[in-house]
């Protein structure tokens, strides 16, 4: 997967938990939960969506490393083949 494909995947996964939001409109360096006003269950659903689409199983202690769109993309780029 290219970086752009991963970015698209992140957007798609976010759209799944926040259908009314436009992830591309938020600051990619801001906290996703704050920006999209999503709660911890939404966030877990987001992590599961990423897992489904990329195969990456993010351990709980790494959740903080996927707090922003940019950091989530870098995290996944490093782990997706």
């Amino acid at each position: 997967m290219t970086e752009n494909q991963i970015k698209d995947t992140v957007f798609t996964a976010l759209k799944d938990v926040a259908p009314e939001a436009d992830p591309s409109s938020i600051d990619p360096d801001e906290n996703i939960q704050d920006e999209l006003d999503i709660d911890s269950i939404d966030y877990l659903n987001f992590m599961m969506g990423l897992h489904e689409k990329t195969g990456v199983d993010v351990p709980e202690r790494d959740y903080a490393k996927l707090a922003t769109i940019n950091s989530a993309v870098s995290y996944l780029v490093a782990r997706v083949g």
């Binding site: 799944d16 938990v17 926040a18 259908p19 009314e20 939001a21 999209l36 006003d37 999503i38 709660d39 911890s40 269950i41 939404d42 877990l44 659903n45 992590m47 599961m48 897992h51 199983d57 993010v58 351990p59 709980e60």
Partner: protein
């Protein structure tokens, strides 16, 4: 032959728009089948049918908005055609009254002195009053009860009937069906204040009800700027341009306002709080999650839900409904989950039989419920049968929740944020993850002593997470 009616999907629902039929005449339906999609002010809800039968006729077309209790379809061929409603109505919804419910229409504030929630679904009336109301053609929802707990008595009905006779035009129009003008209590008062002739006003509300907006239109030529008397209802200019989204938002705020005003007006709340050391629960959870793939991971909220459900078993006074002047405990424990909707508002769909589910099942239910609250697919049964509500505001950083009970329930449990705090145990001070749980409970159904036992039980159960 039975009518399948627009269900009440909560104390704060007045009407619903039938978005889509999933069945057509001739279709056989079974109890639990989803037959229609209905849009409330809050969300699109899938409506289940509660009896077996065959759809003989659809009475309401797609796209139409109708009040709670309006027949939506005729269902036949289910053997005896047993009595009892076909719809997922709240227990307090009086079927005889609901179809007639007068609805305050969209687009205006509701002054606090108007007993609007009585018009929603929970008119308590004596049997004699109900009979009399039918004979006299009075909407029970128009009558303010003077009996015990606001119960409507026969005398109350007669008083309104007299008042109606006085207000009505002497010669009813020759329409066969609406034998009198339907008008909301608020609108009726405005008729007097604005000096209008009710007979000349066309009602545009549900069932031709004359609404405040109709009066405002009627009043414009004669009284351009009605000067309200002190303490009288202010006539807000009708907002000309508001988007459907804004209107929906406004409708939801009104619905929540009506339910919460009813709660604050009628329920004598008492509040208790308890700080809980959740270190054992959290460390157990952390270890547990290490072994679990992401698809099976648990969140702390799930432990709190299970602990709440188990504590309710010990203190059943927290679980059930206050109806017709008495507490009706519920055998089942259906936890209503307060879920905030992005863009404003909240809903509280239920996780069914939470005390009987293990943590994995609860987790799956919770994730599923949140997801469907966001993107659609909530079922009517989930919206109607919560027996108690839980709200978890820890995600927002809230320390302490001061709950408002969702009528006709009798308790609301609130969880705040888990934070590290100084904690003394066995004379030793240390930092522990601490959670504050609060209880808002109905003093008619329970006392602080039982509420205290309830909160202590939650705390105790959380000390032994393996047993959850």
């Amino acid at each position: 032959m039975n009518d399948f009616v627009m269900p009440s999907l909560g104390a704060d629902m007045d009407d619903g728009r039938l978005l889509e039929w999933y069945v057509k005449p001739g279709d056989a339906v079974k109890r639990g089948d989803i037959v229609a999609l209905v849009d409330t002010d809050k969300a699109a809800i899938e409506i289940e049918i509660f009896e077996d039968g065959v759809v003989s006729e659809l009475l309401v077309p797609e796209g139409e908005k109708v009040p709670v209790g309006t027949p939506l379809a005729r269902i036949g061929g289910s053997g005896e055609g047993a009595a009892g409603g076909m719809a997922a109505t709240l227990p307090e919804t009086p079927p005889a009254v609901a179809p007639e419910t007068v609805i305050e229409t969209v687009g205006k504030p509701v002054p606090p002195e108007v007993p609007v929630t009585q018009a929603v679904s929970s008119v308590h009336a004596t049997p004699a009053a109900r009979r009399h109301a039918q004979e006299r053609g009075v909407e029970l929802s128009d009558v303010s009860g003077t009996g015990r707990h606001g119960t409507v008595t026969k005398a109350d009905v007669e008083a309104v009937a007299k008042e109606l006779e006085a207000t009505l035009p002497a010669e009813p129009e020759p329409q066969p069906k609406p034998s009198r003008k339907r008008i909301s209590p608020l609108a009726r008062r405005l008729v007097k204040e604005l000096g209008l002739d009710l007979a000349t006003i066309e009602g545009t509300g549900p069932g031709g009800t004359v609404t405040k907006a109709d009066l405002e239109r009627a009043a414009v030529p004669a009284v351009p700027k009605p000067e309200p008397k002190p303490a009288a209802t202010r006539v807000e200019p009708v907002k000309a341009e508001s988007s459907p989204r804004e209107q929906k938002q406004a409708a939801m705020r009104r619905a929540i306002g009506a339910a919460m005003a009813k709660s604050k007006r009628e329920i004598p709340h008492y509040y208790l709080s308890n700080r809980i050391d959740v270190s054992r629960s959290l460390s157990w959870l952390e270890e547990e999650n290490l072994e679990r793939p992401i698809t099976n991971r648990l969140v702390p909220a799930v432990l709190l839900l299970k602990a709440t459900a188990l504590a309710i078993r010990e203190v059943p006074e927290m679980n059930g409904f206050w109806l017709d002047g008495g507490f009706k405990p519920s055998e089942d424990i259906h936890l209503g989950m307060g879920i905030s909707l992005r863009g404003g508002g909240l809903i509280a769909p239920a996780i069914h039989n939470a005390d009987q589910k293990d943590l994995d099942e609860l987790m799956a239910d919770l994730r599923d419920l949140v997801k469907r609250s966001r993107s659609g697919g909530l079922k009517s049964s989930e919206m109607t049968d919560a027996t108690v509500t839980v709200t978890n505001m820890g995600d927002l950083g809230v320390d302490l929740v001061y709950g408002v009970i969702y009528p006709p329930q009798v308790a609301l449990i609130g969880f705040g944020k888990i934070t590290d705090q100084p904690w003394v145990e066995n004379g030793m001070i240390g930092a522990r993850p601490i959670l504050t749980v609060t209880l808002a409970a109905d003093h008619r159904a329970s006392d602080g002593h039982r509420g205290g036992i309830f909160l202590t039980t939650i705390a105790k159960v959380l000390q032994d997470p393996e047993a959850l």
